[in-house]
């Protein structure tokens, strides 16, 4: 305790120097990283089952899609018509389809079509929608007016309806054409989210500071606006991935998605329909696989949304 002159009656008002809050401020170790939005989100996420469970399922699905032969040695296209609609047996745990192919093998090999359509579509949609939305939101004015009307036009066509019109006119369908078709009608949503997110970030003080310090417009956009505007886009991209997988299955189910030469869950569900009243379990397995996949991406998106939005947190 150092000696400070304290006038009578002021004991309570003047604190000795070494006990002022300033000392506490000086004691802060500035070398520790601050809690960034992403670091904070990660701390939240790794404790939540709603994040861990879908992440594990998605990792498993990606492994299945990459190396299906690790999980089954049966050829998913090999038909034993004599055993059609037979139940489970040794080596064929889930039995046979109406066309005599192995249900389990088709389940394993079908993951690749769904996952690749989902990933390709989401990648295209995020890049195209992200660029359009960021330019419209950041520059405003006539660029915004023009791009926003373009987005409106594409937005007027619902995903499935637009995809039906385009795919029924296309010859030679495969994973790429289906993914490109879905991207064509999927990007406006990302563009809208990105635009509103950039609009919000653009008004922040650090953006004004970067501009007034003389940073170029594109550098400001790339280094200060985009990283902070990305949160909502990542959430919508995760959820859309699930939606695109469901849309591909719906189109394949309608017979205008992936051709029958590609093993896909949607196609298998469609093939199982004629025997649904007698053997519903053939329809059940690909349906479960599809639903669990879509649900995992939705849950992941939901968990990300909670973690990236500090305002909406309940705890």
């Amino acid at each position: 305790m150092s000696e400070t002159t304290v006038r009578p009656g002021q004991e309570h008002y003047v604190a000795p120097l070494d006990t002022t809050p300033l000392a506490a401020v000086d004691a802060v170790d500035e070398s520790t990283p601050s809690a960034s939005l992403w670091g904070d989100a990660w701390k939240q996420l790794r404790r939540r089952p709603l994040f861990i469970v879908p992440s594990l399922i998605i990792v498993l699905l990606i492994v299945v899609a990459l190396f299906p032969s690790l999980f089954t040695s049966v050829n998913p296209r090999y038909q034993e018509l004599s055993r059609a609609l037979e139940g489970g047996s040794e080596g064929h745990p889930l039995g046979f389809t109406r066309l005599g192919t192995d249900v389990y093998a088709r389940l394993v090999h079908g993951a690749r079509a769904s996952i690749s359509v989902g990933l390709i579509t989401t990648a295209i949609v995020v890049v195209v929608g992200g660029v359009v939305g960021a330019l419209a939101g950041f520059f405003g004015g006539w660029i915004d007016a023009l791009l926003s009307r373009l987005v409106d036009m594409f937005f007027a066509l619902p995903l499935i309806l637009g995809a039906i019109v385009m795919l029924q006119a296309l010859q030679g369908r495969n994973v790429w054409t289906v993914a490109l078709t879905l991207s064509l009608f999927g990007w406006p949503q990302v563009a809208r989210i990105m635009r509103s997110s950039v609009l919000q970030v653009r008004g922040n003080e650090y953006v004004t500071a970067a501009k007034s310090l003389g940073l170029g417009r594109f550098s400001t956009l790339a280094r200060h606006v985009l990283p902070n505007a990305l949160g909502p886009v990542i959430v919508i991209a995760t959820i859309s991935l699930g939606t695109f997988i469901a849309a591909e299955a719906t189109l394949s189910f309608l017979g205008i998605g992936l051709p029958s030469s590609v093993v896909s869950w949607g196609g298998d569900i469609s093939n199982a329909v004629p025997s649904v009243r007698t053997d519903p379990w053939i329809l059940l397995w690909p349906s479960i696989a599809l639903s669990v996949t879509v649900l995992s991406f939705l849950m992941l998106g939901d968990a990300l949304r909670d973690a990236l939005d500090p305002k909406g947190r309940t705890r």
Binding site: A156, I164, T250, M299
Partner: protein, 308 residues
């Protein structure tokens, strides 16, 4: 208000032309012969090809083709399906059924979605809230055709509660199950929207004031919380009516409901290109119109929108 309506109508014009141009370009500008593509995998007879070539004015320059297509829309001339019946006649027969189905779906999702969402939002973070939120996610995650077949199998085949398929001239009771399947997805969205909106309204200033001046909790919750948080829900429901028309595609196909969705479903399955284009165009117009009405409704309900 007049300003707002005028601006909103003006914005519709480029969107209408853009969307129809997009549909038209998708079909007729893609590589390959569009007429042969319209026939899908089936062989096309030269007479039919010549007929379609003339019908779609393919010998004219593209812009003339498109303008004639627009003229067809305004004069309600949507061509004929491969069976020779005018598409507009089929649409006129199918639309009342689809509207009936969509209204049933809308009623189901509104009643159950708002009720469950309201209860969940009142106790955010509670057991009921977490359970309902998770279940709604499951409903969103199951693709509608999986849901449809499961419901059809369980209720129609296994338990025999209802007829698995509906057939011509359906009654209200017959449309109940397809309506529930059609409304299931939006039910989950309505639930989540209501829940968030109620939870947010609970901490709003005007609600605190109402509680502070001594109003009882039932009155605060119904009059001050629920009424205000229903504005986004009502507009969602309005926009959804348009979306349900398109969503009926799969549901009507599964349950054999003779509506617009099944018309499109069968045209897709039989690869009847021209019918597909006409029906989709009509559905997109309905969708655009529904969105316009909802935007205007929003401005009526929420004064803040009008002055932005």
């Amino acid at each position: 208000m007049g300003w707002y309506i005028g601006r909103r109508l003006l914005q519709m014009v480029p969107v209408f032309f853009g969307a129809t141009l997009l549909i038209y370009a998708l079909v007729f500008l893609l590589p390959g012969d569009p007429i042969l593509a319209l026939f899908g995998e089936r062989p096309a007879s030269p007479a039919a090809v010549a007929e379609l070539r003339e019908r779609y004015n393919l010998d004219e320059p593209f812009i003339v083709q498109y303008l004639l297509f627009i003229k067809g829309i305004f004069t309600l001339d949507f061509g004929e399906s491969f069976s020779g019946r005018p598409v507009i006649e089929q649409l006129a027969e199918a639309f009342p059924v689809t509207i009936k189905l969509a209204l049933i779906a809308l009623a189901i999702e509104a009643v159950f979605g708002i009720a469950f969402g309201f209860l969940a939002g009142l106790r955010r973070g509670g057991l009921f809230d977490s359970t309902v939120l998770f279940l709604s996610l499951v409903v969103i995650g199951i693709p509608v055709f999986v849901l449809g077949f499961t419901a059809q199998y369980l209720f129609g085949v296994k338990w025999g509660v209802v007829d698995p398929t509906v057939g011509g001239d359906p009654t209200f009771a017959e449309l109940l199950l397809p309506g529930a399947v059609l409304g299931a997805l939006s039910f989950a969205y309505v639930l989540r929207l209501t829940r968030n909106s109620v939870a947010e309204a609970l901490s709003a200033d005007h609600v605190r004031t109402a509680t502070a001046k001594g109003l009882g909790r039932p009155r605060v919750v119904t009059v001050h919380v629920l009424r205000n948080s229903l504005i986004p829900v009502v507009t969602f429901l309005g926009a959804d009516l348009g979306a349900l028309m398109g969503g009926a595609l799969v549901t009507e196909g599964i349950f054999n409901v003779p509506g617009v969705g099944r018309l499109l479903y069968q045209a897709v399955i039989r690869s009847e290109g021209p019918t597909v284009v006409s029906v989709v165009t009509v559905l997109v117009l309905v969708y655009l119109l529904a969105n316009l009405v909802v935007d205007l409704l929003y401005a009526v309900l929420d004064p803040r929108i009008r002055y932005v």
